[in-house]
């Protein structure tokens, strides 16, 4: 290989760091902050030792989150903290790769660079250095935070390196997707799909007791193989390195075997005239959002269906002390029984807190992207009112979210009913899933409001608000804040602590009114500001 192929890598690297001056520190610091948060509130728990014993005894929590290994304060911190930190690093690394390779090629900016004395591998190499270097920095800082809290050096280091490895493999996955797919949105979608598959492997691993081979397929659960502060296995790190190298090598091979701007798949021809049912604005919007809605629906159906099938394996033996624990969620589990509680928590997490809330925000963020890329101009220059344009997008987001919830509820309900032979579960699970719609709509409404008035910073604000809600939920779980604080989040009104037939209906109707009002206000804002 000619060394010349890497010419200019250093300069490109400097340039990328300048471009990423805001986004890079965010995704590097995010895992550190998540671990710090986990440390501070595990320590803040009045009686963490008893709490951990409870959690690791309950079949429901171990099935969802896996057992706490080792059963110590360090183990409890990594138990959720390292999963969250890994997910942040994985997405940071993968999206950074796509941003500097495929997005650049797609926009034609790459031509400006590649016409100059720059080696053909320089761009991919510089992007890899940013992604893997960012993961390394995030890992080292996380390790430093752990050590600063007085935890063992070897365990802290191992936890840090495991985190780095999860970032590096996803840098490779992102880089490979960027080589294969012709547009960056497609590549990002596939990265997300790969991530969903890893989640699937992680949950299977948790249900299987936390130490199965499924963990190899889930980088966010790789700490279950290295077991920092426990067995302290350093050897899996070597295998992680080899695994991470595979997509990277494939990326280099593909890079020189394809045309600039081309992907691995050739574009097939479409129809030469618009079919009459696609000749309206809402049809155009649907056509643009269709792929993401379908992928979400399929992903949710797959995850939900598997969990539904797995549910009957969960023992109904109730942990002895849950009954007199002073927490709403513990009494809810007692009331629902382990299997139903497992399903209810799962539907809550996928259908609202951790799943559909993300769909809601990304679906509305699409409007800003359309605007930035001048597609909005194209449509609005024709006889189309702004109200109609934004309204169509919002309508598709509202309807799409219901469709996804429907497929989640159906798949989960069917899975559980068929395996357990008890078909009365099905309507209950479907209702659980659909009951999340008003809360999801509220999130869509708020996103629309922010888009209408503050399009530039709207998306950041959206994520911050969602982060604050999730943080509130976590504080509530460990008893630091009470239910009255939870009521400030839309999560509370379709929460898993309410058995589905006891869920109060009036607050849900109120949420629908709120969602409509937010959307209406957002459209007013959009009508009165300038485009672009």
């Amino acid at each position: 290989m000619n060394g010349n192929h890497f010419a200019g890598t250093g300069k490109l690297l400097k340039f990328y760091l300048r471009r990423d001056r805001i986004i890079l520190p965010i995704w590097i610091l995010l895992p550190v902050i998540l671990i710090m948060g986990q440390i501070s509130f595990t320590k803040a728990m009045p009686d963490w030792q008893m709490f951990l014993d409870e959690l690791s005894e309950s079949p429901v929590t171990t099935a969802i989150l896996g057992p706490i290994v080792p059963l110590s304060i360090e183990g409890a911190i990594l138990w959720r903290g390292l999963v969250q930190a890994s997910i942040a690093v994985m997405f940071g690394a993968a999206l950074t790769m796509i941003r500097h390779t495929r997005t650049e090629e797609e926009s034609g900016r790459n031509e400006l660079i590649l016409g100059r004395p720059v080696g053909r591998y320089a761009n991919l190499t510089a992007a890899l250095i940013v992604s893997c270097g960012g993961s390394l920095l995030a890992g080292l800082m996380t390790g430093a935070v752990l050590m600063a809290n007085g935890f063992a050096v070897s365990g802290s280091l191992l936890a840090a390196l495991t985190l780095v490895a999860s970032g590096c493999i996803f840098a490779g996955v992102g880089g490979l997707c960027a080589q294969i797919f012709e547009n960056s949105a497609g590549a990002r979608g596939i990265v997300f799909a790969v991530y969903m598959l890893t989640m699937f492997a992680m949950v299977l691993n948790n249900i299987g007791g936390g130490a199965t081979h499924w963990a190899w397929l889930a980088p966010e659960a790789w700490f279950r193989l290295t077991v920092p502060f426990g067995e302290n296995n350093f050897w899996p790190l070597l295998i992680f390195m080899v695994l991470s190298a595979v997509p990277v090598i494939l990326s280099y091979i593909l890079l020189v075997r394809r045309d600039l701007g081309a992907g691995f798949f050739t574009q097939h021809e479409g129809s030469d005239n618009g079919s009459p049912c696609y000749n309206s604005l809402i049809a155009l919007v649907w056509k643009q959002q269709k792929d993401s809605i379908l992928v979400w629906a399929m992903g949710m159906a797959l995850l939900g269906g598997t969990m539904g099938v797995a549910a009957p394996n969960i023992s109904e033996a109730m942990s002895s002390t849950f009954g007199h624990m002073n927490a709403l969620w513990a009494s809810a589990i007692v009331k629902l029984g382990n299997q139903e509680a497992f399903i209810a928590i799962l539907i809550y997490m996928l259908g609202l807190m951790g799943g559909l809330s993300i769909f809601a925000i990304t679906a509305v963020q699409r409007l800003w992207r359309e605007e930035k890329d001048h597609y909005t101009e194209m449509v609005l220059s024709r006889p189309v009112s702004r109200v109609k344009w934004m309204g169509s997008h919002m309508a598709v987001a509202f309807a799409g979210s219901v469709f996804i919830l429907f497929s989640l509820g159906t798949a989960t309900g069917l899975g559980w009913s068929i395996v357990s032979g008890e078909f009365s579960h099905f309507p209950r699970v479907l209702a659980m899933s659909l009951s999340k719609a008003p809360s999801v709509w509220t999130i869509i409404g708020i996103a629309g409001l922010l888009y209408g008035w503050l399009p530039r910073i709207g998306s950041i604000l959206n994520w911050l608000i969602l982060g604050a809600w999730i943080f509130t939920e976590m504080l509530w779980e460990v008893g630091i804040v009470g239910w009255s604080t939870m009521l400030w989040t839309p999560f509370a009104y379709a929460h898993y602590i309410f058995p589905i037939h006891e869920l109060p209906i009036v607050p849900l109707l109120m949420l629908i009114v709120f969602a409509a009002a937010f959307t209406w206000l957002g459209i007013i804002g959009f009508k009165h500001r300038s485009i672009g």
Binding site: F15, G108, I113, G115, R116, P117, G119
Partner: protein, 236 residues
């Protein structure tokens, strides 16, 4: 190309040439100045006095973020980043489609300066007036193949001159060999004539009392249309 293999010696070759793409997209969160410096620094040190001179000439504000630039301004950024580099060959792919006439003038001056320094400029353009003003040699590409190439003079030789003439006496021009597209408006005649028939035609016209005579060499536009025109003709 320049005695090198374009695939294997890409980096060495690119050191000797500069390319400006037709569609210029820039990094939205960087300023024009940052982009110019980055692109030029890939070749080595930047001549800062030349940078300032170019920015002044193109009237480009380098402090603005690229997301706020118009198409013309983005092209200016790419052009400044290209002219800043001291290369042997400049490949410009329709670089001026977004520039106003004033900036077009500045662009042409810059190209003339490069020419004076003995550099080669390879310009692809649909603006034929620009090509006519700038280029020594012209090639016409049709459906991916070069159908005509040579100096403008050579190309003109192959085709007809348009003549507008005012005559005192009546004449029958349609009979003459090498004369085409004759139109008459009172005393005024307009026709096109093959280069090699020019002599005969002039001898016929001379005794007819010429009041005024305009002979226009074929414009590049006409040369161009000759190559593309029959395609349109075939279609109709």
């Amino acid at each position: 190309m320049l005695g090198c293999d374009p695939w294997h010696d890409a980096v060495d070759l690119h050191h000797r040439l500069v390319y400006v793409p037709g569609d210029v997209t820039l990094w939205p969160n960087l300023t024009g100045g940052e982009v110019i410096d980055f692109l030029a620094s890939l070749y080595g040190k930047i001549n800062s006095s030349r940078r300032k001179a170019l920015l002044d000439r193109f009237q480009l504000d380098p402090k603005k973020k690229c997301r706020s630039y118009s198409k013309g301004n983005r092209q200016k950024v790419a052009l400044v980043a290209a002219f800043l580099v001291d290369a042997e060959l400049y490949i410009l792919d329709e670089p001026t489609s977004g520039l106003d006439p004033l900036m077009e003038q500045v662009f042409q001056e810059c190209v003339f300066e490069l020419k004076k320094q003995g550099k080669t400029v390879f310009l692809s353009s649909h603006i034929l007036a620009e090509v006519e003003a700038l280029c020594d040699r012209v090639g016409i590409i049709r459906q991916g193949k070069i159908v005509e190439s040579g100096t403008l003079e050579e190309l003109r030789h192959l085709t007809r001159t348009t003549v507008t003439v005012e005559l005192a006496e009546p004449v029958n021009l349609k009979q003459l060999p090498g004369v085409y597209d004759v139109t008459q408006n009172g005393e005024k005649w307009r026709f096109s004539v093959d280069s090699n028939a020019m002599d005969t035609v002039m001898k016929v016209l001379a005794p007819m009392g010429i009041k005024s005579l305009i002979a226009e060499p074929p414009t590049l536009e006409e040369l161009f249309l000759r190559h593309y025109g029959d395609q349109l003709w075939e279609r109709s």
